[in-house]
Symmetry: C2
């Protein structure tokens, strides 16, 4: 977010058709919960379009990129790599460390789709489990971002939005900002 070291999310793996919605939700969650950009596998062009469309309508800044070199993105990242996996260390045990590191250093958050090879576990500075239970990569990413930013992401302001939702106890209110 604004004036903090970058947070990027890398979706590791994508099966067109089967993973379209999950990959789109990874991208939208990254955007809504404070990441600066998402990097998707190059066969996830449809998800890229959807996330860009939402950014165009609801505001940014937020970047969406495709890559044909997932491993190179991880290997060449200038900063800290956090890999979210149910096999990793407990988020409640490492989050303070990661928050401290993030004060000075860009973070790449790797979110698995298909089977993640062992070299990702090895390259990661932190393998982190949001619980050590099988659930959802989208849920894990959401909780991790909320804890990384300590809730600050919820107060983020959006630039260049066509529309803005006004919080409401009942019903829907959308305005042009």
């Amino acid at each position: 977010m604004h004036e903090e070291p970058e947070v990027a999310v890398l979706r590791y793996g994508h099966r067109p058709g089967r993973d379209d919605r999950m990959t789109t939700h990874v991208g939208l969650t990254a955007r809504a919960l404070g990441a600066d950009r998402v990097i998707l596998p190059d066969n996830a062009g449809q998800s890229k379009e959807t996330v860009e469309d939402i950014t165009g309508r609801f505001g940014g800044p937020f970047g969406v990129e495709l890559t044909d070199a997932l491993n190179a993105v991880i290997r060449n990242w200038e900063g800290v790599v956090v890999h979210l996996t149910m096999y990793g260390e407990r988020v409640q045990d490492v989050e303070e460390d990661v928050r401290e590191v993030h004060e000075e250093t860009p973070i790449l958050i790797v979110v698995g789709g298909e089977k993640v090879p062992f070299e990702v576990y090895e390259h990661a500075d932190y393998n982190v489990g949001v619980t050590n239970q099988p659930h959802s990569e989208v849920a894990g990413l959401a909780v991790f971002l909320d804890r990384l930013f300590d809730g600050r992401e919820l107060d983020r302001e959006w630039e260049n939005a066509d529309r803005k939702v006004i919080p409401k106890a009942t019903g829907k209110k959308v305005v042009e900002p």
Copy 2:
């Protein structure tokens, strides 16, 4: 969770095929992040099976039910109804209230799938937005549960599990408990 008033999650709407993975992820996220049970539309039998299978292997207690009467579940709920929607009040503004209420009262969390009718907004005691941005019902549920339980859900113990993941800095370790 254990010794607290019940928290149930209701998946509102399901399109077989298209929504299978999202509905399954709603169920698995509810289980992993501290809810006591999930209630799914009766055409989501496949998601029910997957969540029950995970509960059988990784432990419980966690309930999965199907219903052909989504609106009746909401109307007849004896407790507080929280509907997660991007149009609702900001989670950071209402979470303290909801946490207090939950000390005494069961909570039903309604998670939209297809278009949610206006009567759900009206019946809900709280319409809550985890951001007022479009993202993912799974992400919204995850952040809401983590905040409702204030992180306690991460320390939950599981009963009758066949296998248990031991948190690890690198690699995977699974044991029979």
